[in-house]
């Protein structure tokens, strides 16, 4: 079949890009080897976090936050978003020093969203926290959403504007002839003048096919979740010197992450929990919230996700082929960026420019002879 833009990967980046293109009247088709949101997009921790972003990501993350705060106008659904703030706790003076330096750096860049709060303000916001913490870095209107719900809202809205989403459609071959991309799948051949690579952990071979290999590594960060508990905490909690992402979801369950990796059999798409690392994660939670010792973990899982060596995504025109674009490698913090990434790609595709600074995410940064 023929269309204007072929998007490989039906995750959030793919659906968000399709939605923005469709809003401007472009036709597109999304090809997904499984079903939309089967991997990282559907099962991530759902953090809507500007807090503690890499400086290069801050402009995009800030723009994306604005879109999340008004997400209903974009996708007709609130994606179960909440904005109770995200907090990075300092457990000692050293931590506090580190966070103060961070806050100063962000201020110097001209942003005001990250601020330091002292002890008293911290315990007002998080009375359940273990005593003796020093203070925290906070981003007050950060929050979280429910990833699979968000993914579906993006997909449904895109489809309502004419986007076609083809599940169980694996891409076997890509070539270009007569100013058109030709993508061959077991379900048939697709043609379009524009190609977008949003294939997440599977984006590497597509980039390589376009002649621009990337050092992408697939990883599977583990998450665990508790039974429903009475509400006892509102903001999302991280720690200055520990691996932790901790929040109580809308329904009372505790979602605990910390970027510890599962064992991954990438070929089989199988993950196996690393209980030693989850034990560390449990100890981290108990160090900050000792009253949770009898809270029960009921599920653990790990979504397969693309990691880049510098932990920055690739959001880029192809360096080798005209009319090909990339958005992948979000290294386990892409959820929040997805609305703006769709916007950026649609601008690149339709206007050949974007108003946001994307040079740091250029695919050419991995090319040695550059």
């Amino acid at each position: 079949m023929k269309t204007d833009t072929l998007i490989i990967g039906g995750g959030l980046m793919g659906c968000s890009t399709a939605l923005q293109l469709a809003k401007r009247g472009a036709r597109c088709v999304i090809l997904d080897k499984d079903s939309p949101g089967r991997h990282a997009s559907g099962v991530n921790a759902g953090g809507l976090r500007r807090l503690n972003r890499h400086p290069a990501e801050i402009p995009l993350s800030v723009a994306s936050a604005e879109m999340w705060h008004d997400i209903e106008s974009l996708v007709d659904n609130d994606c179960d978003t909440r904005f109770p703030g995200q907090i990075r706790v300092a457990e000692n003076r050293e931590d506090m020093q580190k966070l103060q330096e961070r806050a100063a750096m962000v201020r110097d860049l001209g942003y005001a969203h990250e601020e330091i709060i002292e002890r008293e303000a911290l315990y007002q916001l998080v009375p359940a926290l273990t005593p003796d913490c020093e203070g925290a870095l906070i981003c007050r209107d950060d929050g979280y959403g429910r990833p699979f719900h968000a993914l579906n809202a993006f997909r449904r809205k895109a489809c309502s504007l004419g986007v076609e989403c083809h599940s169980a459609t694996r891409v076997d071959q890509i070539d270009r002839a007569r100013k058109e991309w030709r993508v061959i799948t077991p379900k048939g051949e697709y043609r379009a003048p524009v190609l977008v690579n949003c294939a997440g952990a599977w984006a590497g071979p597509i980039a390589a096919t376009l002649g621009e290999p990337v050092p992408l590594k697939a990883g599977a960060p583990m998450l665990m979740i508790s039974e429903r508990l009475p509400r006892f905490i509102e903001p999302v909690i991280g720690a200055a010197s520990r691996k932790l992402s901790f929040k109580q979801m809308q329904n009372g369950t505790l979602l605990i992450g910390g970027a510890h990796m599962a064992e991954l059999d990438f070929k089989q798409q199988l993950t196996e929990m690393n209980w030693a690392k989850l034990a560390v994660s449990a100890r981290t939670v108990l160090a900050l919230f000792p009253q949770l010792k009898d809270a029960r973990i009921v599920r653990t899982w790990a979504g397969i996700e693309a990691f880049m060596p510098d932990h920055l995504p690739v959001i880029s025109r192809s360096s080798t082929s005209a009319h090909a674009y990339h958005a992948f490698g979000f290294s386990a913090h892409g959820f929040q960026m997805s609305p703006v990434v769709g916007k950026i790609l649609s601008q690149l595709i339709l206007d050949d420019q974007t108003n946001l600074p994307i040079e740091p995410f250029d695919i050419r940064r991995f090319q040695k002879d550059r």
């Binding site: 209980w275 034990a279 010792k293």
Partner: protein, 469 residues
């Protein structure tokens, strides 16, 4: 009974101390192996021989002669070198045969060279209107109360559903003097026809059939008659069950009761074999998912064997033989007997397994549940008891394009409660298949997300104390 927990490693770990696990442990004992038998109950016997060591003689008589078989099975283990650990919940098992467990209140991770899974069966969850009301329970629950604690219905009981256990429980209750208000058999009448072709072969194992007929005759003599071909059974009440309504011979009936016990057959409890990554398949005849095993119980994962009702429903006697077969195979794999010796020791068990094939097709056809019961709960019927997801919510998710079990789970939270989908996984598969026209294997089962039994943060945090960030 050990008070200390299991050691860090065993050559053979057997999980489950019902007939399969007990027989496996007994057969593997005496070969000089380091063997642990882990079981979640406080005493051995599984559900079928529950309380076998502590039951008063009078109560044991009520249960019938079959129950006493458990005494020898348990006795063999008590007098062996097998380390038996009761009160041990398994929360994880992987391909490397690492076993996450909680013994007493303490968590541990141990490993084994060979693992025999003998986790048995669960009652098939079938959602019908009112099945979540207090006063509605599984028939198996009623039988557990009778066996383990000598507790019986006080104000009479309505028994409903389909399957051998229903008849057995009615018979046992009758002997205990319990008032049976109604025995509602929801097995469709046309199953008689469905089962007929298998009858000649089933006559080779006619002791099963005779026993069933005997129970029926005894019940009839006691004035308890079974209503056949009952449909549209449901429990009614506000805060608890107050009555049961059903259709029989074209007419609607209601019967007042404070207790309804239902049963729709049993299915293998496959959470652990799923967690371990063993291959499973849909068995049309047994209407359930089963792990794939060879005649020795070897699963698709090296070193993990499965025996008993956890493989497929065959009953307690068959489970014993299957347990012995897996144990002999594990002992062979561990180099303690030759293949020839294994085959010699297994001769009697293999013969039993072959003969068992006489009766099963007949029973499975006879108790085949209609699709209407499995795949067509009304939209307002709760399917996921934990998260209270209705059949209607599942169908809505399907209509929005979520056409496999796991997508439905992601979207609706169906199967994400504490029972981990044990009570809704099959129903979701049936409903999705029914609505999409896909086959059951295409729709698939929920992926298992360990821990398969909840684990506290303190228990998890106590593991791997030397590990750091």
């Amino acid at each position: 009974m050990s008070t200390a927990g299991p050691k860090a490693h065993y050559s053979l770990v057997i999980i489950g101390a019902g007939p399969a696990g007990l027989a496996a442990a007994a057969a593997a004992a005496g070969h000089g192996l380091d063997i642990a038998l882990l079981d979640e109950q406080r005493a051995p016997g599984g559900q079928i021989y529950r309380a076998i060591e502590s039951i008063p003689a009078e109560r044991a008589r009520l249960l019938g002669s079959e129950y006493r078989r458990g005494e020898d099975l348990v006795g063999a283990i008590r007098n062996s070198d097998v380390e038996y650990f009761p009160d041990t919940q398994i929360w994880s098992l992987n391909r490397e045969r690492e076993i996450g467990l909680v013994h007493g209140r303490s968590a541990a991770m141990i490993s084994a060279d060979q693992v025999v899974l003998a986790g048995g069966a669960i009652e098939r969850p079938v959602p019908y209107p009112g099945w979540t009301l207090p006063g509605v329970m599984n028939a198996g629950a009623g039988q557990i109360l009778l066996k383990a604690q000598g507790i019986v219905p006080a104000n009479g009981v309505v028994l409903a559903g389909s399957g051998a256990l229903l008849l057995l429980l009615a018979w046992q209750y009758m002997r205990a003097g319990v008032q049976i208000k109604a025995l509602l058999d929801c097995t469709p009448m046309h199953n008689h026809l469905r089962a007929l072709p298998y009858l000649p072969r089933a006559l080779l194992a006619r002791h099963y059939l005779l026993k069933g007929l005997q129970y029926k005759l005894d019940l009839k003599r006691a004035g308890i008659s079974t209503l056949q071909n009952v449909s549209d059974m449901q429990a009614d009440g506000e805060q608890r069950v107050e009555s049961v309504s059903y259709r029989h011979r074209g007419r609607q009936h209601t019967i007042k009761t404070d207790l309804l016990l239902t049963h729709f057959g049993v299915i293998p409890h496959i959470q652990l074999s799923q967690a371990a990554g063993c291959r499973h398949y849909w068995d049309k005849s047994q209407q359930c998912w089963r792990p794939q095993v060879d005649e020795w119980g070897n699963s698709s994962v090296n070193g993990i064997l499965i025996a008993g009702d956890g493989v497929g429903i065959g009953g307690a006697r068959t489970a014993e033989h299957a347990g012995r077969l897996t144990a002999l195979e594990a002992v062979r794999a561990l180099g303690r007997v030759s293949q020839h010796e294994r085959d010699r020791l297994a001769r009697n068990d293999r013969k039993w397994m072959r003969e068992e094939q006489h009766i099963r097709p007949f029973l499975e056809a006879f108790f085949h549940l209609p699709g209407k019961l499995l795949a067509a709960p009304a939209d307002d019927t709760v399917v996921c008891r934990c998260e209270e997801v209705t059949a209607g919510a599942i169908r809505k998710a399907i209509s929005e394009g979520h056409d496999d079990s796991n997508q439905v789970k992601f979207l609706t939270r169906c199967g994400m409660g504490p029972c981990q989908g044990r009570q809704c996984a099959e129903s979701v598969t049936h409903i999705v298949a029914g609505a999409t026209g896909k086959s059951l294997p295409e729709v698939g089962l929920f992926r298992v997300r360990p821990p398969i039994t909840p684990l506290t943060l303190e228990q998890l945090g106590s593991l791997f104390p030397d590990e750091t960030e």
